[in-house]
C-alpha cells in the first residue's frame, strides 16, 4: 500500500492516500448538496435552487440524509487527521505572519508541517460546526416530535443551524480559493493524491523535511 509521504517517480510525493481522497470527496459532494439546498431554504432569492434540484419537497427530504453522510465523513476525517491537526508553536508563529501568507510571501512564513495553521482552522471549524449542525439538524428534521414544553429546542435550532452553516460557508469559500486558485497543485493532490516536490517544499517544508528524513531510513 502506498502511504502518505512516499516519494514517487518523476519528482512527485504522495500527499493523500486513496481513503483520504475518498473521504474528502464524500464530504465535498454531500457538503455542496447541503450548501445548495440549505441556501434555497435560507433565502427566498435562492429558493429556485431547490426547484432546479428536483423541487422543494425532494430537497427537504434529502437534505438531512446528505447531512448524515457529511457528518460521517467529517468523523472519518477526525479519526484520520485529528492527531496531525494539533496546534503547535509553529502554528502560532504562522498566524502572526499570516499577512505575508495573504501577500504570497511564502518564503517569509514559518515552516508548516503536513498542514499549515490555516488548514487546521478549517479542520476544527468544520469539525465543531458539523457537530452543532448535526444536533440542531436533528431537531429540525423532526420538529413535529418536539413537545410544546420543549419548544425552546426548536427556537434554538432555527438560529444555531444557519449560524453554524454560515461559518462553514466562510471556511468553505477560503478552502476553495486556496486549493483551486491560490495554491496550484493542491486540487490535483486530492484527485490523484500526489504533489510535486516543489509544492511540498514551498507550502509544507516541515512535512517535506520529515519525508526526506524518513525515506532515508526504511519504513517499518
Amino acid at each position: 500500500m502506498s502511504q502518505s509521504g512516499q516519494i514517487l517517480p518523476h519528482g512527485r510525493v504522495l500527499r493523500y492516500e486513496l481513503h483520504e481522497r475518498l473521504t474528502h470527496w464524500t464530504a465535498a459532494f454531500s457538503y455542496i448538496y447541503l450548501l445548495l439546498t440549505g441556501l434555497a431554504f435560507y433565502t427566498p432569492w435562492l429558493f429556485w435552487i431547490a426547484i432546479a434540484l428536483g423541487g422543494g419537497q425532494i430537497s427537504r427530504m434529502l437534505h438531512p440524509w446528505a447531512g448524515l453522510i457529511f457528518f460521517l465523513a467529517v468523523m472519518k476525517m477526525y479519526s484520520m487527521w485529528a492527531a496531525q491537526m494539533r496546534t503547535t508553536e509553529t502554528d502560532k508563529a504562522w498566524w502572526g505572519a499570516v499577512g505575508h501568507y495573504a501577500r504570497n510571501e511564502d518564503d517569509k512564513m514559518p515552516p508548516a508541517g503536513r498542514y499549515n495553521a490555516g488548514q487546521k482552522l478549517l479542520f476544527w471549524g468544520f469539525f465543531w460546526c458539523s457537530l452543532l449542525l448535526l444536533l440542531t439538524g436533528a431537531v429540525l428534521w423532526f420538529p413535529e416530535f418536539i413537545p410544546w414544553n420543549l419548544r425552546f429546542l426548536r427556537y434554538t435550532a432555527v438560529v444555531i443551524h444557519p449560524a453554524a452553516a454560515l461559518l462553514t460557508i466562510g471556511l468553505f469559500l477560503i478552502h476553495i480559493y486556496m486549493s483551486v486558485f491560490a495554491e496550484r497543485g493542491a486540487f490535483g493532490s486530492v484527485i490523484r493524491g500526489d504533489v510535486s516536490v516543489e509544492f511540498a517544499k514551498r507550502y509544507h517544508p516541515g512535512w517535506y523535511k520529515e519525508i526526506v528524513g524518513e525515506s532515508s531510513t526504511p519504513r517499518k
Binding site: 434555497a40 431554504f41 435560507y42 433565502t43 427566498p44 432569492w45 429558493f47 431547490a50 423541487g55 422543494g56 419537497q57 430537497s59 427537504r60 427530504m61 495573504a102 501577500r103 504570497n104 511564502d106 429540525l140 423532526f142 420538529p143 413535529e144 410544546w148 419548544r151 426548536r154 427556537y155 434554538t156 432555527v158 438560529v159 444557519p162 449560524a163 454560515l166 460557508i169 466562510g170 469559500l173 477560503i174 480559493y177 486558485f181 491560490a182 495554491e183 496550484r184 497543485g185 516543489e198 509544492f199 514551498r202 507550502y203
Partner: protein, 296 residues
C-alpha cells in the same frame, strides 16, 4: 364578501412583489368566540370535519369531555375543557374553541422558506397551500399558538383555513354555521370587536366577572379570531392561551439580522476573494513562469 377578499397580501418564502400588497379592502373578516356562552357541544368540531372532509382518527381519552389532547393535521377545531377553581372555592368550567388565530403578523408565514406555501389574503385569512408545502415544519416553530400540524404520510402541514372557500362565496365558516348557542359570530373585525367589547362590559357590569375582556393579542398584530373571556387577565387558564403571544425572538433573529449579516458576509467574501486573486494571483507564479509567458 366575495372572491375579491381572497386577493393575496403576504406570501411566504417569496422574493419580489406581492400582487395584493397595500390594496385597500373594505374590511377584514373576523370570528368572535364568546367562551362565556359556549356549552361545549362540539357541533363546531363536527361541522369543521364535515365541511373540510377530514378523515377522523383514533382519539386519546384524557378523562375530560375533550375530544383529544390537541388539534391535529386532520382535526383543526377542538374545544378545550378546563376545570378552574376560583378563589372563593367555586368551580368554573372553561371551554375554549381552539383553532388557528389567523394573526395579522403570522409567525408561520414569517418562518416558512417555501415560496407560496403560506399566504395571507387581504381579508386577513392565513391559508396554507399544501401543493407548495415542503414539509420542513418551520411554521410549527414560528407559530406561538401550536396550531400547524404535519401529516406524517404526505409530509404537508395543515390547519384551519377559516373556511376560505366558504368565505370567498359569501358564506360564514362551517363552525359558525353550526353553533347552537350563538357563542360564535362572524363579520368584519370592527363589528366583531364592537360586539365583543359590549359583551365583555355586560359580563363586568351584570354578571360578576370584573376581569371579563376581549382577547385580540397585539404581539401578533391582532388576530382574525377574537375571544371574549370571563378572565381576560389570565388567558392561560383556557388551555394555555398565551398572555402575550409574539413571533419567537429567535425566528425574528434568524429571518432578520442573521440573514442580512450572512448575505453581506457571503457576497463580501466572494468579492474579497476575487479582488485578492486579481491583486495577488496564484502563489507559485515565479520568474520562470513569467518569462515563459512572455516568450509565448
Amino acid at each position: 364578501m366575495s372572491q375579491e377578499t381572497l386577493r393575496i397580501q403576504k406570501i411566504s418564502g417569496h422574493a419580489g412583489t406581492v400582487a395584493g400588497e397595500g390594496t385597500q379592502r373594505e374590511y377584514t373578516i373576523c370570528k368572535l368566540i364568546d367562551t362565556t356562552t359556549c356549552i361545549g357541544c362540539k357541533a363546531c368540531e363536527v361541522a369543521c370535519m364535515e365541511w373540510n372532509d377530514l378523515p377522523f382518527g383514533e382519539t386519546i381519552f384524557g378523562n375530560t369531555y375533550q375530544t383529544m389532547p390537541e388539534t391535529r393535521w386532520n382535526y383543526w377545531n377542538l374545544i378545550l375543557f378546563n376545570e378552574h377553581e376560583r378563589e372563593d372555592g367555586s368551580l368554573m368550567w372553561l371551554m375554549r374553541k381552539n383553532q388557528c388565530m389567523h394573526c395579522a403578523d403570522p409567525g408561520c408565514l414569517a418562518a416558512c422558506p417555501s415560496d407560496g406555501a403560506i399566504v395571507q389574503y387581504t381579508n386577513g385569512i392565513v391559508d396554507f397551500q399544501q401543493a407548495n408545502c415542503i414539509g420542513c415544519g418551520y411554521c410549527i416553530t414560528g407559530c406561538p399558538f401550536d396550531i400547524p400540524k404535519l401529516n406524517p404520510q404526505t409530509k404537508r402541514v395543515f390547519k384551519c383555513t377559516l373556511c376560505t372557500d366558504r368565505v370567498g362565496e359569501g358564506l360564514e365558516p362551517a363552525c359558525i354555521k353550526s353553533c347552537p348557542t350563538g357563542c360564535l359570530h362572524f363579520g368584519s373585525k370592527d363589528d366583531m370587536l364592537d360586539l365583543a367589547e359590549k359583551r365583555a362590559k355586560q359580563l363586568r357590569d351584570h354578571s360578576n366577572y370584573p376581569n371579563a375582556g376581549v382577547y385580540d393579542p397585539k404581539g401578533v398584530g391582532g388576530t382574525s379570531v377574537v375571544y371574549v373571556l370571563h378572565d381576560a387577565a389570565n388567558p392561560e387558564l383556557y388551555g394555555g392561551l398565551p398572555k402575550d403571544p409574539h413571533i419567537p425572538w429567535s425566528v425574528k433573529l434568524w429571518k432578520g439580522p442573521l440573514k442580512w449579516l450572512g448575505n453581506v458576509a457571503m457576497v463580501g467574501g466572494l468579492i474579497g476573494l476575487f479582488v485578492h486573486y486579481l491583486r495577488f494571483g496564484p502563489k507559485d507564479r515565479d520568474e520562470e513562469e513569467m518569462k515563459a509567458e512572455t516568450k509565448s
